[in-house]
Symmetry: C2
């Protein structure tokens, strides 16, 4: 087998949301495997809003990708060579394999083993990957939705939001989508079991009062910013805010300003909490099994937006930030 | 007994922090007691930062005091006449008796019965009143301090902060005071078991890095604003922020701006929660008993700053906002 490996590297460091020009397609030779290492051939590359945080030079939950290094990304791959007994050739894995054709790594790069009988291979990167796991754990751990409550979800048609909406519906809640277009809103109601939607180009406060006449009990926040400010001001006493993403804030340098929320948190007795899926590895398999069962029984739908070819990855990330994806964005590589 | 009653009424509605000119001392006749009513003679009037919220025309946890009405305030009083079997003459009570000499009310105005054997009468309004109850419940329920953690408390020498600092010390934490003067800081360390203090006129970030070299695990926030922004940016992963007060924000109209905290909440996995003592009435007596026992055994000190005479109440509130009190501010009335 050729040891030549095509990969997308970070060519320069973006401030804020990365653009296609910040990346470059290069080729490098794969090293020989050392003891304990694996060679993984990628099948699906994941494209995630969190990747902005991997390349910005800001404190985050992991150090930034170095300029010149392969772009950090989750992927589904197949073990092609192995120097580790626990990972035989032919096994499928979900892990930090990067935006590249193949990856030499150690087992600490693996998030989950993929069982192709549990669901489609691609589902392992979305429904059963960080998106589904985040939707389930953040909603239940922090949101604690109770039947009859109103749950508002921003980026409601996104890879996390679309699943969170369906899970909140299954919990017996009235679920309201905040989206950027009527088209996405209609999709939320038709496909993801939302009860209503609000286009955030409208006035959030007036719009929410109309679609949430009984106020908001849980806000699953994927966006932050003005939308979050508006939702928080419609929350009921003892409401919960899941801080899961900040995709509406293009750049954190210089620090963006907004209305102070201390008084809202105090007088409404809100509980606001940050959620990062990578803290919860011990529960991945259990929650993935639950998600797979819901999907198999037709109770949970997960749309995927799959493009072909490694070279498409940078633009796909730009498209995700612009909200142009219609489901979990993946890049499929030829096996 | 004369039915003439001196009282402080709200003379005009302040925007932001009330000043003495917003109040007026007037006299009115007390009505005769209806069935089920009590006449309470006030002994100590409470002066609390929360009273700003009672007079501002903003959404809050209670409707605002009407212009011309007696200023809403907690007080310790003695039942002087009773048309209710459960509240005999001579009993002491803690409740919403207002800034006035005497109050005709129903039992729903009562927060707690006062047992003069449990502690001094005045302690029932501070140590065993909303200040002590808030310090204990907010620290333990939301802060959940663990031995060895670092707890930062703002308004650290105030009626809540001074008690919260000692309770955090008793929980085995390193406790750091944020105060407005060296004098208060020294008092925090000498009297309230704080390990260190920081004057907020310094740069909060630099100062906290120096006095909290291992970061901050729990922030007991009584002030909001710039101080809170600075502390939040020094917090450790999984930190807890108790949103207990916002005394540093003079006015909420127009909405004050500040740096957005979404990213801090997310990447540090903070849990931020609002606390209002009036939600927890069912636990008042149990927690008060615990506080009284700590005080009786010398483990908890509560300073009081007592002035004489009803007419002093408005200026006393102004002084509390200016940080000129040295302990729980009370107004004593002649019995």
């Amino acid at each position: 087998m050729s040891r030549s490996n095509r990969r997308i590297i970070l060519a320069s460091r973006p401030v804020g949301i990365p653009q296609a020009r910040h990346f470059e397609l290069t080729t490098a030779e794969l090293p020989a495997l050392a003891d304990g290492e694996l060679l993984v051939e990628n099948v699906y590359l994941s494209v995630d809003p969190a990747q902005r945080g991997y390349v910005n030079d800001e404190d985050n939950y992991a150090p930034p990708v170095a300029v010149g290094a392969v772009m950090r990304a989750l992927a589904i791959g197949r073990v092609a060579e192995s120097q580790h007994d626990a990972y035989p050739v032919g096994d499928y894995l979900y892990g930090w394999f990067g935006w590249q054709e193949r990856c030499v790594c150690r087992p600490d790069a693996v998030l989950r083993r993929v069982d192709p009988r549990q669901a489609s291979l691609s589902a392992a990167a979305g429904l059963l990957g960080i998106n589904g796991l985040t939707a389930w754990m953040a909603l239940h751990d922090i949101g604690r939705p109770r039947s009859g409550e109103t749950v508002v979800i921003s980026a409601a048609a996104g890879a996390v939001g679309a699943l969170a909406g369906q899970l909140a519906h299954l919990a017996g809640c009235r679920v309201v989508a905040v989206v950027g277009s009527d088209d996405k809103g209609r999709r939320c109601v038709a496909d993801y079991r939302y009860d209503a939607y609000l286009d955030y180009h409208q006035h959030i406060g007036d719009g929410l009062r109309r679609v949430c006449p009984e106020g908001v009990d849980v806000y699953f926040d994927n966006v932050g910013g003005d939308i979050a400010d508006g939702v928080i001001r419609q929350m009921n006493r003892d409401g919960r805010v899941i801080q899961c993403g900040t995709i509406s804030i293009p750049c954190w340098v210089p620090p963006p300003q907004g209305p102070r929320n201390e008084r809202e948190i105090l007088t409404r007795r809100l509980r606001m909490q940050g959620f990062v899926i990578f803290d919860h590895a011990a529960r991945y398999d259990a929650v993935a099994a639950e998600l797979a069962a819901l999907a198999a029984s037709g109770k949970l739908r997960c749309d995927e937006d799959i493009e072909q070819g490694l070279e498409r990855a940078p633009q796909a990330l730009v498209d995700v930030y612009a909200g142009r994806n219609t489901g979990k964005k993946l890049i499929q590589l030829p096996l």
